[in-house]
Symmetry: none
Subunit: 217 residues, 4 copies
């Protein structure tokens, strides 16, 4: 079908003789994609998925409308790329802010702090990126929601803590990861909406999460 983007999933492209898919994505091409993603990010955050048209993105990116489809198979793919990007950024941000940690509480607080700082520097980005996929498109149940990937990351962190014995032994890391993401999401949204102090939000959320993971003997 389309040739430049995705469809051939790594292993399937073997035979095709003509059209080697340009192994070195020319500088111009990369620049286009960068501009489109930047514009998409801004618009998805400002107007939401349904309020943003591919045309708007192209225009804001300063490229032709057709160029959009040179880089993304459709609107959803573009959104997922945006979500991915935000996710990666957050992870990097969190990694950089990883102070030395001596307790569970400190660890959680550090990560949350990174999340909130990222959110302050990139307002609205997380909220937009975590949008539920079911609401974006019907019958796309195969695709993985960004929010779930995030939960899985938390799960593995919790697993590490479990290995160290700092969380309650009856904790199911995967389940806890998802629950925890729910806490951050809903709690963060509420705090933002009512204008709660970042410090206070951090305190309250940390406390809730730590307690939900531990049991004092």
């Amino acid at each position: 079908m389309t040739n430049n983007h995705a469809p051939e999933d790594a292993d399937t492209a073997t035979l095709s003789v003509e059209e080697a898919p340009s192994p070195v994505p020319s500088k111009r091409r990369l620049e286009s994609r960068r501009r489109i993603l930047a514009a998409a990010r801004q618009l998805f955050v400002e107007r939401g998925y349904h309020g943003t048209r591919p045309q708007d993105i192209s225009k804001a990116a300063g490229v032709g409308h057709g160029t959009f489809y040179l880089h993304f198979a459709d609107k959803l793919e573009c959104f997922l790329a945006f979500a991915e990007e935000a996710s990666a950024e957050l992870e990097k941000f969190a990694a950089e802010h990883h102070a030395d940690v001596h307790s569970l509480e400190e660890g959680i607080r550090e990560v949350l702090k990174a999340v909130f700082e990222y959110s302050e520097e990139n307002p609205g980005v997380l909220a937009a990126a975590l949008t539920d996929i079911n609401v974006l498109a019907v019958d796309e149940t195969d695709k993985v929601m960004p929010v779930d990937r995030w939960a899985e990351q938390w799960a593995s962190t919790i697993q590490e803590w479990a290995d160290k014995g700092v969380v309650a032994p009856d904790t199911d890391p995967m389940f806890a990861g998802h629950v925890l993401v729910g806490m951050i999401r809903q709690g963060g949204a509420y705090a933002y909406r009512v204008g709660l102090e970042p410090k206070e939000t951090l305190d309250k959320l940390t406390r809730s999460i730590v307690r939900s993971l531990t049991t004092t003997p």
Copy 2:
């Protein structure tokens, strides 16, 4: 609740002695609304907000397309009515399942049990009804999301517990209410997706929530 939307207030200039626009909403009218809401519920659950057209609802309800707009000003109003309905049902369901409760844990478990039982009897309804309003329509920020109303209900329950001294004194009921809804939502969705046993889900969620609200001395 209100549904007789009246685009024109129409004080009608003339004398008009009697007034009273429609004090008794006629059996036929009520039946229409009932059918439309029932169809809307089914379709919103099956296909989501964006996958459901007013026409589909009307057709499924067995009424004319125009009749839809006799009862709801627009699609969003219809969705909110559906969400409201589901919310009320859940509340009633929970109230009925209120066993005698002797501890915080027992209390939370009872409510969660009601929620999960309701969800089993009405699969998908809660997930649909809790859909984020920002994703439904752009610039409808004034409207209250069902999920927030639910959080507020939890908040008042938590407040009662706080008055009894069974939750940690440093608990902010409103914040905790939202956090708790996040836990249920995300945890419930995860459990449903991976097919976790209801009993197990209930145990895990109850444990997480109780811990998040208490601190053992």
Copy 3:
């Protein structure tokens, strides 16, 4: 005029035994019609033909929506009844204001004065009533436009003047009647829009019309 509206076209109703069309239009029926027409007048003036729905009229009249069609076959018939009413009113108004007239100029001035006074007492009514029928409905070419009836009235007045020899002998009364209505319409609309003094408008229009009808030897 019409009461059971159109279907039996006066001469065709001879045989029908049952349903003598209620030769004495009950008081209630007349009252309904009166209310509807009054509401129609107000709305047609305020919002124009296309901006007014039969429902709006019924509601403003304080009658059921179906009642509208008990009195008028359709919206257009209702509009024409309104135009007719306005036309009759204006004629009556003009007749009452007929001072003794000793010259053509005086005669024209008197009629115009009546028209403007009527317009001041009934703002917008004439403008609305004179609406071009072609703009109201497609393929209703058989119906007579109010504006044409008005032109014909002017024509017969001009004929009288011609008989008295006060207008130029080469005047075609019918043509002149229409031209004159055009002058009043467009001139009046302009004067109203730019807020010209009534006195001044009257002077200017009278002057133009008198001149257009006479030739000084």
Copy 4:
């Protein structure tokens, strides 16, 4: 004139060095617009504003429905473009037919002749183009009606005559311009409807107009 309607101003945030949205409106684009306008003209004349749907225009123009909205923000804008076009055509037509003129009567006769000839070559176009804006859309009072622009053109012509002293000194050019348009409109419509000879119409109308503007000492 302007037609590249740009719903979003879209300063596009990013750098964007080149700018210039579409300095040369591509041949294809112009051709599309031409076809749409031609189709619109035919349909507006044949069926009137309310009898013509954007879909009909697109279909008749042989373009997709969406293309219509690529060139006009909405139906009204398309109609106004049509009216503008007709107006410009008429003006050009009149300018070309400007014979040497030695008297007011001759001048008026020449212009009217041009108008009637244009109307004969383009039947119905003037009638359609002069449609009252209030009848097209409610609450668009800001837009200038073609008929008013025409009146203003007449006004300036009358002003020129006044400067030469060939019209009565008490003439208000602006008012007279509007009155005169009323005469042409209504008189022309009447003549067309009853099938008056063009020559005769021209004579009668010229006579009326000349007289309305002059006073013999």
